[in-house]
Amino acid sequence: MLALLPQLLLTGLTVGSIYALVALGFVLIYNVTGFLNFAQGEFSMLGALLCATVLTWHLPLPLAALLAVAAVCLLGAATERLAVEPAYGSHPLTLIIITFGVSMAFRGLALMVWGADPYPLPEFSPGPVLVLLGGVLTRQALWAIGFSIVVVGALFFFFAHTVPGAAVRACADNPFACRLVGISPRRMALFAFTLSAGLGAAAGIVITPITGATYDMGLTLGLKGFVAAVIGGLTNAPAAVVGGYLVGLIEALTTGYLAPGYGSAITFLVLLAVLFLEREGLLHGARRRQA
């Protein structure tokens, strides 16, 4: 039994890094706007599929990835301006439902454009897998894990040590006071959507060499990323990343030791447990904004 453990842990880390990246997008938007963007998984899907398409124009992979991320940033901005912005002032629940609608629209659009077949992306640095403690880790998994760590570091630096970062935090704390000192919360919301769309797209591109990209990948990614973000308390980026790895490890260990197929069920049980014990974590941001 113990012989399985190293591989299960490494698999958990691989899958967890994927969830962590999506969870970061949730946290970013929640911190600024006080509601959840359920189109977050769709940004990853669009990034991955756009990158696969741009790659067929015989551009180098980094350039293709950059173009795809930029395009999804624009889509994120458009989502905020066209779908969410007109409804500001409504109940957060209304806004959340709007993002659900946006995610369904993106998914339907992707099905029309790309069809149901999965698309591949090449590994960033092809080569043999790494053997660690008797388990194997693919090079692409290292990219995903590394990317999630770099992004957390960058976000931490941005929020703690830069003026725009401080402005974003200020908007989350007290939008009214922000307006008084000349920071527009709406501009910050636009910024948060653009950034988290780009982040989601990059995450989608990093994981596609492992999983393949399909029009419906955003649904699962979004759900698991959401669970990870909630476990992390929704406002704390490093905690969300830890949440992502936790969900990945829970799934891998359940599949390995309990029974395959129960991974997701256990994950959602953990989510329920967290919600029962830490109800404040999910709701206090929304309540604060209404106050």
């Binding site: 012989a3 399985l4 591989q7 299960l8 490494l10 698999t11 691989t14 899958v15 994927i18 099905l111 029309m112 069809g115 149901a116 077949d117 999965p118 698309y119 591949p120 897998v129 194997v136 693919t138 994981i207 492992i210 999983t211 393949g212 399909t214 419906d216 990948m217 649904l219 699962t220 891998a252 599949t255 390995g256 395959p260 197929g261 991974g263 997701s264």
Partner: protein, 387 residues
Amino acid sequence: MQQLRRRFTGIVLAAAVAAGLLLPAWPVLGQGAAIKIGTVFAVTGPASSLGKPEKDTAAMLQAQYAAEGGIGGRPVQILTYDSETDPTKALLLMKKAVSEDSVIAVVGGTTSPESQAMADYAMQVEIPFMSVAASTTLSVPSRMWVFQMPQRNSTAAAKAMEYLVGVHAKTFAFLYRNDDFGQDGLVAMQTYGSQRGITLVDSEPFAAVDTDLSPQVVRARAANPDAIVVWSTPPTASIAAKNIRQLGMQAPILESHGIANKAFIQLAGPAAEGVVFPSGKLLVVGQLSGTDPQKPLLEKYGRDFEAASHYAASTFGGHAFDGITMLIDAIRHAGPDRAKIRDYVEHLRGFVGTGGVFNMSPQDHNGLSTKDMVLVAIRDGTWVIWK
């Protein structure tokens, strides 16, 4: 002036309505009422990569029959409906085709759930239904009005088992997508395996949305099987192959007929090399021997389809082709009557289609066997017949 214009409008409207009422009757005067066949495919939705070539095949055949001038002076009309990969919509559209558009037979049901719903309705209203889905339960047990065009999943499993026999495997592990398709495969492979003295030593289910199957592979590896069998479609079918090779397993990989598309090879990359799977003959038509009874038909279908639709033909479009051509053959010989068509198809022997040489009987409404499939190996990123 105003009044005049209003009266004029009234006259024009009345004339238009009258013309509209007369219009549907005109073809009857010319050449006899059209013989209508209904087709319901998942042209959009998750199964669109199957349904689209099916619909395009129907359109291609419609054009061919129109050019030939129909059957016995009566034009043939193939009506197409899009089920959007939704069993409820598929059923409603079939009802519409039968009750409003008066079709005399129906082809379709791209996915097995759609086909199940349509088959039940075909039994209720007693109309010939040619299913293009592969679930074994569609034709086992045999149902009066339901015929199945693709090789059954159980036939594919029997063909797949020939590979395990061929590589002298004594044991195998089975990784499968935990749904009807995968469970169908599990039962069939276990049964055929025990008949050949090949033991299932481990079975590992996974979900269609899983992104890493290493835990399942590690468990399977612990059972140390001679061969490893994967029953799914891409992307999980590809992820499984990748994980198996990444984890250093060298055992031969056998997959299902669900990977008979280029997406599998693209996603699995080098791990696709050497993977073997059962398939209809269309994939490897160029490598078939000249004496193969299907070869001329497969070549012609591939050519015609590409000319009409501007992309490569697939086995799925082939199933629609078989269903429609079989009905047309029945109408030519038995006449445009539901019951006569059914009786004719039920006793059809040696009918050469894209899926194989059909030998129907009252007990077998599929009529295909393992002889109609080939084992295909992936070598250098392309398909070759495995020997």
